[in-house]
Symmetry: T
Subunit: 146 residues, 12 copies
């Protein structure tokens, strides 16, 4: 059974508490539980959240040995953390980038992702559902579907 | 049962024939059949492809009356067709933008979507699977899920 | 009696149906009728709307032979259709560009018109009244006023 | 009867004397007289010209109390006077910006108006006739027309 | 005997009628006849002109099956039609881009071709003779010359 | 006892009358009185407001001889008046720039101050209180505190 | 009694040791003591310094529950840490940004603050006194003054 | 005998008092006297200084009737006063722009002159001597030399 | 019989030796011989190659007196030598710019030619054949063809 | 004997494991051992690697007290960590920046170093050898050579 | 008696022959003779012209030993020859840059001088007279005038 | 024994004479002698200096046949000589770029090297020692070290 890691970056620990008109009212814990329920028998999913770029990089390095794929919502690190980009480049496991809100309809600085060129794909603006779609996609890739 | 429209823009009629290292070898007809099979009993899906910006705009206008949601891969119109953008703005039904390849890992002009700010969300780089994820997401939105 | 053509570009067929806080609630048909009434005995006015850049260019070419002047609201083609620009350059009849809303108070991409350098003048943000002012101005030009 | 103010900015006192291939040979006095004649019984129109940004701002402030609407040709202040912009923002009466020549067909610096986002509309390139169209439009707005 | 297609884009139907100081006074029909005469016994040449981006894309797709090479003057589409670019990318036959006037000595927007990176070569500013040089070059390529 | 000058630039005479959601409802007269009261026995404060760049420059020149320090809210001159900048450079007395609203949360053109590099410091977005803080700071500087 | 947090970002632990011509010779400990003395009976002030973006974000999250307001000098994080920006956005307590030196008179990269649009206000270039002014301002805001 | 006007713009009244390392220690009055002495019997020279853009524009308009040529040092207006530019364009008398210091070796904003394209020539960085060279040059032009 | 000059700029002496995947394996001497053979009885052709901008400029000056036309491949001077541009501007004989490879499909700096605005036309990407096409075109121009 | 610190930034712990076509197959441990061997009797060298910007800054601060010089390969922090830059500025010991690969031949974002202006020098693209050259250079500087 | 060098750069040997509407009809030889006559008894003037950047640099190096000052019209090298700039920086003798035409009223690339920041001053647009003014100014500087 | 060439570009003949605060007081001859001494028995080193781009290109071409490696300090040609870049590209021998001063701490134009993408590596800011490090590195590369 595939083992996947879902990383949430800076400030996503405040999901459901912060700016609910943008991010909704579900908390990070509820989101994680919900995802676990959906993919209950299909794969093992672990979660990690940190506000520290360094710890997230350490964790991405672990993916190479310990997981089959990675879903990452890097929060605002998306827009400037070239170290995160290099960390993702340095592993060979498939990675999908997720953003809860439609970043292209928000401030200009959110339009650009320095991560995007090194991930397999992006899911943007589809709410918390985006995490589930990313996992579905990863499973499809790992299962050898086109 | 929800009725959805999937629009493919310029040059996507050449899917499976053109640059297979980027777009794979499945033809547009095969893709459409495959999607129909996947969502067989869940919703009605219709398909439209055109190389003409004008006909695509006409078709988007139809969505307001005849469909419950729209999935669109605008091809290269993504990057400059502000008329397409206004057409999507002019309808109230949820719209999701799909790109087969990871446009952010290709030429710079493909990084920018003039459509992105007016759609609900984007699915990028997840291959033909991206269309299915988009439809799943639309059904989730229409079904009132978060 | 002068014969004028009024062209409305992409998405203007949805006038009165789309984003009424920007464009008001008068439909295109009502607008055309209203203009006809205002200039009833002063000149002959014909109308054309299309979502197709190509058909609009064909129609502009006709102006040279069949009309004395042109009023055009190119919709979003304003911002990128250099082909439209060349079509207008290729005719010698006076042309006036109209925008219903104040494009300078909206998204940045609407601030620039690639058409503007080749028309006689522009009327921006004065609502549907803008079409009447444009025709008044054309008649004044054709009548030889300064 | 509505009372309107028409302000002409720097160098427009040289109208008819300066660069007649661009601005024509009518003087400012003749223009003002002509406008008065056209709208003789329809409204009261007063005129003001100054080469001083400060006096023009003072005058705009007066509009709030003393006039029903403003027509302004700010001359080259159009392109840099953010103070003028703030002055117009600070009043609630409808304002229309007029340019005699087609600024978009001239030097690049003339393409941009810092005033445009805070006025109701713009009339560009329609010669001295532009002032009349602006007043017509103001009367239409004040009269409650769409 | 090789079979070549020559496509002329928007507004080139007005050749010889429009801006003769730039494009000369030969009409499109005369140009096509002249080219036919020059290459009479060397190859079969067919011509196509349209003001519609969509029809031109459809026609380019035909080249893959029906022709040995393509000469294209995309008119103003040169500067923005990324769909045209993708259409040319999608075929494997050699393509040469022609511009009648020296676009680099005209307005800045004409300096850039979005088509240029995907064609074999460009001929610019050599008048109607440019079409003949392009065909000569195509024949040379097809004939295996360096 | 130190003698300080507080200059308010263009449109600040409309404080309390204009856009109260941005600037509040206190008038300039009330503001000046309030500041006088706060610093009653600590220093002498004089006030000057003008919509004229030229008069403000004249007044700044006076600071060198007549005052010990300057607080200035240059209004929109902040963003373009390089003459104001040179005037401040030309005096040796400490100067503090004040903006009532958070200019960095407003239109982009307000983000840049051409004055900032030549003043001692800036106080931005702290409302009318900002003037008091500026005076406190000036007194601290004049009193020789770090 | 209000409880406020003062955060100092990367390298500010070297205050008084590093580049004294820019930052003076007072150490961070002395600064903190001085501020405590000034506001002795007015409010409770706690201090935090870190060179780690992640720990600063964690600390900002604490403000929502544990403090009434925040004064922050983010050091060089000011210019690129969009994660810091989002952390500040995610709390509802008033925040004021302080810079000791006049960043606008230094290297160009220091002119821009990605934090500025989400704080209440900024105090720049007023030396260590800036921290006191910020606290004074926070107390005024919390006390309901205009 | 030719009659020339020398205009000095904002802050040049502080010549000799302000930033002597850049502008030297000669005052404006001394400069004017010195120039008068040099050209004593060759031409009539009048001087004008103002910190007001508006008064300088008024004065430039006078040149057309009252003087044979103009020497202008517009101070910082050089870099943004498009109204000054239009004023100079509106007169037919030869105009020479003078800058005392080498503006190209100072801050970047001083490198650009919006006046330069409409004057006959520029003399930059040659100190107060630059005024004399400008007058010599004007006399040469007026005298019909090459 | 017309006499033409063909100039090859820096590094083209290494043709056939350098980067053969871009420039092919024909040497400069072979190319020159081949061109001579093709146009044997039609015109006199002389060749010049130099790595020195200065000598190329000297040679271009000679064209005015000694030749009827010029074909030039300026190598990398194309992208920055404004002196070369002025040299070509200074002669009245027709000049055609040739590039062997499709510069628009290579590094970005090769996309721009500072020479292009002052030559009659450009031939790009058509290999060594491009020189022959250029000469054919020059002969056509000299022979008075359209 | 001099004591030097060699810091390797984010992702350099994956040296020899990640993208060997760029970075080679030597691991970080092997590299550190190799360097120690080379400079065995010449100086004391200590090594530090972290994926955390904050810890690297802490470590740089230590240099001031504990080491005589610093060699740093900041990984991707090179391109955005202005905090790192300020940390290096805050110490007085000589610092040399090393990059293993030729960053100027890679993605554009790698061309710019925000660290470069505050280090003594840079060694780029010379492989692992670059670290040795940096130490050699530091020793030379410390030894007082030119 | 002072000894001055006047250097003319690329293409200025064609003065009087090339584009006379810009540069007039006086040849370089006539210009040099004229200047000699004007300053006959005042100083020794030598002239140098070359189309070779390298020879001009060599000549500038000679100035340090052999001349008291330099007047240079670098032709188009003005806009890109940073080597020329460094050559001028490397000598301590006063240098004045001259341009015959008003480069600011010509193509945009001519507006920028890479030489300007390292010369004493510039004289632009004053025709051949500009050389005389430059020499007058040099003599004034050498003679110790302000 | 390996034979290496060291090229110094424009103005480096003035080393030790020009701007000693930047370049030190060692002359080029002394530098060359010193390098020879250091590598006395290890390799043969030849030196070349020229102020002429053309001669430097000629010399680089020689490297292919006559030398095993190249060290080049191109002076200001670094920043614009694309011809130099192409010359280096055209040879297969390893090349290292050296700059004596830290160009990244000087004027902005010195930050960019058009040569950098085509050399093996760069050594910047390490003084004259940089040449020795470059040769050491070349010998290491030639000797097959990593």
């Amino acid at each position: 059974m595939y083992k996947l890691l879902v990383i949430n970056g800076p400030n996503l620990n405040r999901l459901g508490k912060r700016e609910p008109h943008i991010y909704g009212s579900t908390t990070l814990e509820e989101l994680e539980q919900r995802i676990k329920n959906v993919f209950n028998n299909q794969c093992i999913i672990e979660f990690y959240q940190s506000n520290h770029e360094g710890f997230i990089i350490d964790k991405i390095h672990d993916v190479e040995e310990l997981y089959d794929g990675l879903v990452i919502n890097p929060g605002a690190l998306t827009h400037y953390s070239l170290s995160l980009r290099d960390a993702i480049s340095s592993i060979s496991k498939p990675t999908i980038e997720v953003h809860i809100s439609n970043v292209h309809a928000r401030e200009e600085f959110r339009h650009k992702s320095v991560i995007a060129p090194v991930v397999k794909g992006q899911i943007v603006g589809l709410g918390l559902k985006g995490y589930e779609l990313a996992i579905t996609s990863l499973l499809s890739v790992l299962g050898g579907e086109n």
